[in-house]
Symmetry: D2
Subunit: 358 residues, 4 copies
Amino acid sequence: MKPIATAIVGCTGLVGQQFARLLDDHPFFALSCLTASSRSTGKTFAAAMPGIDGSFFSAATRRHVLRETTAAAIRASGARVVFSALPAAVSGPLEAELRARGLCVFSNASSHRLDPAVPLLIPEVNAGHLELSRVQLRQHAGFIVTNPNCVVSGLAIALKPLMAFGLDSVTVTTFQAVSGGGRRGVAAWDILGNVVPFIASEEEKVARETRKLLGRLAGDHVEECRLEVYPACSRVAVKDGHLQSVSLEFSQAVSGKEIAEALTGFTAEPQQLKLPTAPQSPIILHDAADRPQPLLDVNAGGPGRAAGMAVSVGRLRRQGRRFGFFLLVHNTVRGAAGGSVLNAELAVRSGLIPGGEA
Amino acid sequence: MKPIATAIVGCTGLVGQQFARLLDDHPFFALSCLTASSRSTGKTFAAAMPGIDGSFFSAATRRHVLRETTAAAIRASGARVVFSALPAAVSGPLEAELRARGLCVFSNASSHRLDPAVPLLIPEVNAGHLELSRVQLRQHAGFIVTNPNCVVSGLAIALKPLMAFGLDSVTVTTFQAVSGGGRRGVAAWDILGNVVPFIASEEEKVARETRKLLGRLAGDHVEECRLEVYPACSRVAVKDGHLQSVSLEFSQAVSGKEIAEALTGFTAEPQQLKLPTAPQSPIILHDAADRPQPLLDVNAGGPGRAAGMAVSVGRLRRQGRRFGFFLLVHNTVRGAAGGSVLNAELAVRSGLIPGGEA
Amino acid sequence: MKPIATAIVGCTGLVGQQFARLLDDHPFFALSCLTASSRSTGKTFAAAMPGIDGSFFSAATRRHVLRETTAAAIRASGARVVFSALPAAVSGPLEAELRARGLCVFSNASSHRLDPAVPLLIPEVNAGHLELSRVQLRQHAGFIVTNPNCVVSGLAIALKPLMAFGLDSVTVTTFQAVSGGGRRGVAAWDILGNVVPFIASEEEKVARETRKLLGRLAGDHVEECRLEVYPACSRVAVKDGHLQSVSLEFSQAVSGKEIAEALTGFTAEPQQLKLPTAPQSPIILHDAADRPQPLLDVNAGGPGRAAGMAVSVGRLRRQGRRFGFFLLVHNTVRGAAGGSVLNAELAVRSGLIPGGEA
Amino acid sequence: MKPIATAIVGCTGLVGQQFARLLDDHPFFALSCLTASSRSTGKTFAAAMPGIDGSFFSAATRRHVLRETTAAAIRASGARVVFSALPAAVSGPLEAELRARGLCVFSNASSHRLDPAVPLLIPEVNAGHLELSRVQLRQHAGFIVTNPNCVVSGLAIALKPLMAFGLDSVTVTTFQAVSGGGRRGVAAWDILGNVVPFIASEEEKVARETRKLLGRLAGDHVEECRLEVYPACSRVAVKDGHLQSVSLEFSQAVSGKEIAEALTGFTAEPQQLKLPTAPQSPIILHDAADRPQPLLDVNAGGPGRAAGMAVSVGRLRRQGRRFGFFLLVHNTVRGAAGGSVLNAELAVRSGLIPGGEA
């Protein structure tokens, strides 16, 4: 199969860099266009980001000259697939324009996540929702697929195999890493030796996106599931990895053993299709008393391309009528760039991207 | 009133230092004896702790010569009140011996907290339980009063004014400071840039102690309340102040306004009696979106002797059938030494300590 | 004496807040005008900075309505003295305009520090250089006085009493706190668990400003001293307090005892004049092996108005032909706002500000 | 060649783990014995260290059962080479006993570093000093080779190629990582948001060991070089990597270009012999203004076995009569286990270990 010409818009941020790393030497995709803000346009990728560890990137990527973030520049490169790491404010209109021009857009931005016609996708959770891309193709030349918020990306994977037990409510408190706010989004002055118990709009996203992801495809839209979600989001002095304290209520009787087996045995389409970025097991369950920890477990799923793609779960315990556990997800990999790339791999293998491997 | 001769056992640890600070120039108590481990015995308080900020302590306290931690040494000093900052393993037997010798022991150790005859006390929450000291006095020459675990010390204060609304369950995830593990208890290697989602025995204490504190005195013991408590405890890279994410279920209909008013209007015996270490308001409710934060709010209640004695609550919000908020408590002040001192002040004013102000 | 009407320009940054704290209820100055960027104009000081600890400020300061940063707004308030906490880029022209209008400007910005006609002043080091203000008054209606860079503010104080021993060279490596970069100047992503061995233009400032400060007034300008200065500046994950590792070469034979006595016995004009913000001793010498430390010693000089105004020195040791020590200075107090306020207090007591106490 | 049976004494600490990682699947050595303290004896390596990232170790190493740290246990395993990661207090006598029994000991402990008959070795710096092992073999059945202190391990490599320019003095201030103090050696309470300007005995080691390393072999001992060394050592809140601010005086005229070329062009025996753990270039010189940084550069030299074996240098600049730069060394790799393994590889290739590849 000939690799599919691919663009990354907003490649210099923390998520953009992860896109560049994951798409370097990818079996399905070949980078034709990297865009950045005007400050970096015209520089090479390496020159625009002197502070990064060059060993993550191929020489070709390092030498890639950055272009401005416009639909024209992207189309001129011949790209048929676009990964978007732009902020929501600018991402929405550009993505719509690219879709109108026939491109397949995989977006980490929140702009279109709750749009009824756009799939909010985690291949292990709701691969069937990708069908909404075909719905879009009836109205547009291309389509948009979104991946959820970084918290939801981990949470929904852990909840998916437990839905069968009649999950009623999820109470979740997050310990979110500073990379979630972008390279300059969290000031050292605010977070050093501190915890900030607020992240703007985050709790709303956690509730809505979890319900859409776990919802049921009904023709041209998704019916949200009825799950009660009680999120509390905070920022901690951690670089990468969103830890989550989760408490669950079930309507059915279920044992700890059943839950443990459901978590460890869980696999889905990405594993069956052996997608390049899929971890062998999407969920890793720890026995040790003090895991998962961001520093020790954030790259679970690897080594190699799937590093950071597995969700780590630990301290699974019965608490009266409930079950509790802690969960860790790499927020800029599984929770952002990696999730988006996995979505695109599923789309390629589903035959949605003409010319790609099917 | 003549000050009551008072001992601190284990004065060199983080909690012991807080005892020394709070009892320095205290209107009720005068330090007659400071004990430490054999490594420090014979040194002055200042010499034993070169790394502390001397400005917190009076010259008299700084010059105090440390004695060994034995009942004999304490009694020889003439102490009638003892504050214990020892680890649970060694604290239990010593406290029992001191009680047998007629001393009044106020302990931060967990050894006797769940003993039916020993009050587990927060003056704002269950001042009436101090009656159990009289029960002890029928069998022993002295008595023991305990203050709860550092997490519970904050949580129970915030829950107390909400019990009237029919509180059914409390889900709480903690972000606990390193000082909770003692000066050398948490290694930098483990916590720098990390979160550790486990603290040994902590969740058990949170559940049991909360139910005893909010329970009903029934003659010579306390009937635990039926509250469901779902704790999840973790350690974060913060020096002082345990932040807690709390989610509440009520059996009655209640509005956010009612909850806010109950929290801000709450006062109890310590405020009515104007106890020296009592904060003007035990609960401070924040309107700002991103409070409370450990670095900004840990010393709430002050300035002066009551610094760190108020509990800060913020982000109060309705979540479907529930209410959520974040709470912050100074773990070595309200959650340890300050809580114990306030208990002793209440005992003095209740006439339980002969010779003290009544 | 009637307090002198005073403005703070740029009051919402970390240095501006320290100005507001130090000028609250000041015996010489009364706040007539607080300015901020357009985002905050029209709000009260408290409303513009929800994240600050209100207990640092009087109710009057908290209610002060912020104005835009223009010479017209400042003059309209009747201010005769202006403290500037603006960035250098905007500070230079505004300060010159205010001087032209007859105001006395005390600036923390670097714009005019190396201007031959402007004193670069630390009252303990070169009080005589204030004479340059009279030079300015011959050409302008008002004058500008600058305080040095935050590193130099500490270093020059420690070097001053040692100049008598024939100091030849100073090698200094800094460990600078994040507050030195402003509230949002250092990203958590860059500094958490890290050290960044570079601060733009800092080493040049350290060398030049140290030589001007320790130089000799020669009529209408200062002749820089010949001291060799070898600076290396870095940023560490500390909130407040610039630690410095210093190595000194002398042309004369000198003993450790002589150096220690010169440091501890050092006092100058601010102490003799009992200026309100002057610490009792400008230099505190530690015997303990592991001091000074930012967290323990940053507020040396206090309690009260002079907290953070003393420089802490420790680990004084002979090293072959040299002497070494570590030094700590509070970068936003002695190294910025406090230094500037002390300069203004000296100017008032020197009779340079008409109407002020003389 | 048949691999040489090898023991690691003290394999569970941070340095011991690095030994285990580096000797896993090593071309020269095969692990026959891993020892630990009595707390871990009898457990497998994996069970004794639940908090480590298992992906670093082979299944064989993970299943290795830990033995007690005695000469008898080591000999019983058939080991002919021993790597020691024990604390100096216990390491000295055990190493002497093992030498007496004919084993070749490569030690990271300080016990024998300044012993005239024992080489203090960095293969890139003073490979010739290994000759002292033959001196030992005349008196003992085996020999001891030591690697220097973690600071010196980096510093001496950077100084070696500059000695030709007539280096007179080195002023060095260190920013040392917490791993240098061992897993539990630095308490979070002391270092979070802080810098501690003291590490016991460190400055003495830096001065003495640098002079021995750069000294001249004179028959059966080393004559220390005359270099003046002015060290100042501090601990910072970094996990791995000792950053160093260095200032150099030369007796000869030298240009920045000459220094840069000497650093970047430097190679020595390990590179010529292609030793398995040798980095391609021992020194990596950065052009970027803000490098090296611990988080970005600590693993320089890799990927693979040589990760963490290269020293990073940056901010090379002329300062009057001097030159300054910052230097970074991975303290538990090049500064400890990796340095020791490289020493052993050199010994094997020098024919000092019978039966090893020569």
